[in-house]
């Protein structure tokens, strides 16, 4: 695969994003303002972190449906560790993130060691982790965090929402790893042909376990940000976020069959969805109209990109 074909979809998508931004700014003068755009960045951070990790997984031809449940479990544990166990809040959050990361590691083990297909494995843990969150929480919310904790989810650093810095750092680091390291090439190699990757001496199993662990970590970090943003914990937090993340990733040009995809694409996909949600709402379109349009954009974007690709390569 050459770099050209890799960036074809991302280019198309970036042009589409630019067009959408222009149209939406004409629809509402409130849309293209610094404060609104930064605020949208705040709202998309949790999905964004998960989508970045999901890009790696989908690029290997896998999938992780359990991220929303890991988010819920980590959120609940943050509250329980802090209030019921009595740990200091930073330690409680770290411990909860550790458990969320371990949940991702368990996914990886089930997938590699027991050779359960990722979709089935994470479908099962989707139910399991959500169930654990519900059982541990006993339907109780933990509230009343100290003020400083809200800086993460509601505050600003240098005028930019705190969590947006995290998303930016994660995006840059992930782009470098996926695009320029041996590790990133291993990801594509697994996605293109897992058997061949194994025979060429790449540590397929180890890479996969690491990826699912990283996905658990991303979901866990997103959970703490989410708790800080909404100032409470609920066991149903993050329900359905896996579909939002997957939508962003595939819209961003990552092939669901693996072997292709970039972090840049995922980020553009993410921004496109968020811009549509926000801009249409500002322009007076109701929520149900917006989700219909996002569905249509998803199908059309991949359709158009497929058409271009075929006319280019054949």
């Amino acid at each position: 695969m050459n770099l050209k074909s890799l960036f074809r979809h991302e280019m198309l998508l970036a042009i589409l994003l630019a067009i959408v931004l222009v149209i939406l700014s004409f629809q509402s003068d409130k849309f293209f303002t610094v404060s609104n755009l930064l605020n949208q960045g705040r709202l998309m951070t949790e999905t964004g972190l998960i989508a970045i990790a999901m890009t790696f997984i989908i690029a290997t031809g896998g999938i992780d449906l359990s991220v929303g449940s890991i988010l819920g479990l980590t959120a609940i544990l943050t509250g329980v560790f802090w209030q019921n166990v009595g740990l200091p809040l930073p330690l409680a959050a770290a411990a909860a993130i550790a458990v969320g990361t371990f949940a991702g590691f368990v996914n990886g083990i089930i997938i590699t060691r027991f050779r359960v297909p990722p979709l089935i494995a994470t479908l099962a843990t989707l139910a399991l982790y959500r169930g654990l969150a519900e059982g541990i929480s006993q339907a109780r919310s933990v509230r009343g965090y100290p003020e400083w904790f809200y800086v993460l989810g509601q505050g600003n650093v240098l005028g930019v929402p705190t969590q947006l810095w995290l998303l930016l750092i994660a995006a840059v680091v992930a782009s470098i790893i996926l695009g320029y390291t041996r590790w990133g090439r291993t990801v594509y190699a697994i996605g293109n042909n897992e058997v061949a990757a194994r025979f060429s001496g790449l540590s397929v199993e180890r890479t996969k376990v690491a990826l699912y662990t990283a996905s658990g970590f991303a979901a866990a970090v997103a959970a703490v940000i989410f708790v800080s943003r909404v100032s409470t914990t609920r066991s149903d937090m993050g329900t359905g976020i896996e579909l939002d993340a997957i939508t962003a990733v595939v819209l961003g040009g990552t092939s669901i069959f693996g072997g292709r995809g970039t972090i840049a694409g995922t980020i553009i996909g993410l921004c496109l969805i968020q811009a549509l949600k926000n801009g249409l709402s500002l322009a007076g379109v109701k929520g149900d109209g917006t989700i219909m349009l996002i569905g249509a954009v998803l199908i059309l974007a991949i359709l158009v990109s497929n058409l271009f690709e075929r006319s280019g390569t054949r």
């Binding site: 060691r113 139910a127 399991l128």
Partner: protein, 334 residues
């Protein structure tokens, strides 16, 4: 669990002694189905010991008929998955079709129109999805993720969520009995057996396995891959339509919203039933058994007084155990 050693070769050496024969063949053909069936039987035995009312006729009806619509929808889903595709929009589709069906019934159309309209519309919508997957070559998860949004948003903007009541009594087919058995149960069994036989013995059915197992080889042997994919999605729409009839006629009101997580339940039933998500294997008998297993678990947890707070954790654990048992069985068989 302390499993830090990740360099274990993925293919395990055989430990089981190969005993050829009828049982062996049955196990290899229907292994996962048998695992699920054993799980159902074990649950029944265990819960009945605690509370014999578990196997009362009424509770058996609740268990076997209650999830019939999931089982019927899972038949089509299994076929889609066997060809290596997936459909995450089926829950939204059933919600849309139920609303159409109920609206027609209330508007005074003959009940058979209200029954068959969802089937035809389901086939049309999924036919379109199939065309996008097969001819436009968009991965099915992308098309159906898009379709999920479109159907869900469309349903809300079309109905605004008004419930449909005052349904004519003749419409309520799921509440009727056939040969003394509830219609959903009869429909589930008959459709499952017909679909299973058709998948196993017809050339069309077998070609689906070929498509899912090895698409290139299948095309090389002359199977028209694109047309088969479209056909499978249309058949899936047909079963989704039938599932809708059972779903919409169960109660005297139709809630014109998408049932929460229905698509996930249907997909889970299909994969737990032994349909490999990578395509190429599995039967629809397994998916029906899995739908029954879910209903059995749901009922069993109430009967055994498992804390309702832990209910979903236990369901998740049982699903994981079933999957691992299947993998364990396969690794022994190699």
């Amino acid at each position: 669990m302390a499993m830090t050693d990740l360099d274990i070769p993925p293919v395990r050496p055989s430990r089981a002694v190969q005993r050829p024969g009828a049982i062996q063949r049955l196990m290899s053909d229907y292994g996962q189905e048998i695992v699920v069936l054993l799980a159902i039987v074990a649950l029944f035995a265990f819960v009945t010991m605690i509370n014999p009312r578990f196997i009362s006729a009424n509770n058996l009806t609740t268990i076997f008929a209650g999830n019939a619509y999931i089982a019927v929808a899972a038949i089509g889903m299994s076929m889609v998955i066997i060809t290596g595709n997936i459909d995450v929009s089926v829950g939204a589709l059933i919600g849309v079709l139920a609303t159409i069906s109920g609206t027609l019934a209330v508007a005074g159309y003959p009940v058979w129109v209200a029954w068959f309209a969802p089937v035809l519309i389901g086939m049309a919508i999924n036919g379109l999805i199939g065309v996008l997957v097969a001819y436009a070559r968009i991965p099915s998860i992308v098309v159906t993720l898009g379709a999920l949004s479109i159907l869900r948003g469309g349903l809300i903007s079309a109905t605004g969520g008004t419930w449909i009541s005052d349904l004519p009594p003749a419409f309520m087919v799921a509440q009727k009995k056939l040969f003394g058995l509830p219609v959903p149960l009869v429909a589930m069994v008959v459709l499952t057996l017909l679909a299973a036989a058709w998948m196993r013995y017809s050339a069309f059915g077998r070609s689906l396995y070929a498509l899912g197992g090895n698409p290139e080889a299948a095309v090389a042997t002359g199977i028209p891959a694109e047309r088969r994919i479209v056909a499978v999605f249309i058949i899936h729409g047909f079963f989704a339509g039938l599932a809708t009839i059972l779903f919409a006629t169960q109660l005297q009101v139709i809630q014109s919203t998408v049932p929460p997580n229905l698509e996930l339940t249907i997909i889970t039933a299909a994969v737990i039933g032994g349909v490999s998500i990578l395509g190429g294997s599995g039967t629809v008998i397994g998916s029906t058994l899995a739908a029954i297993l879910f209903a059995t678990i749901g009922s069993a947890l109430i009967f055994t007084n498992v804390s309702a707070y832990w209910l979903r954790a236990v369901i998740g654990l049982l699903i994981l155990a079933t999957v691992l048992a299947d993998m364990f069985r396969r690794s022994r068989r190699i």
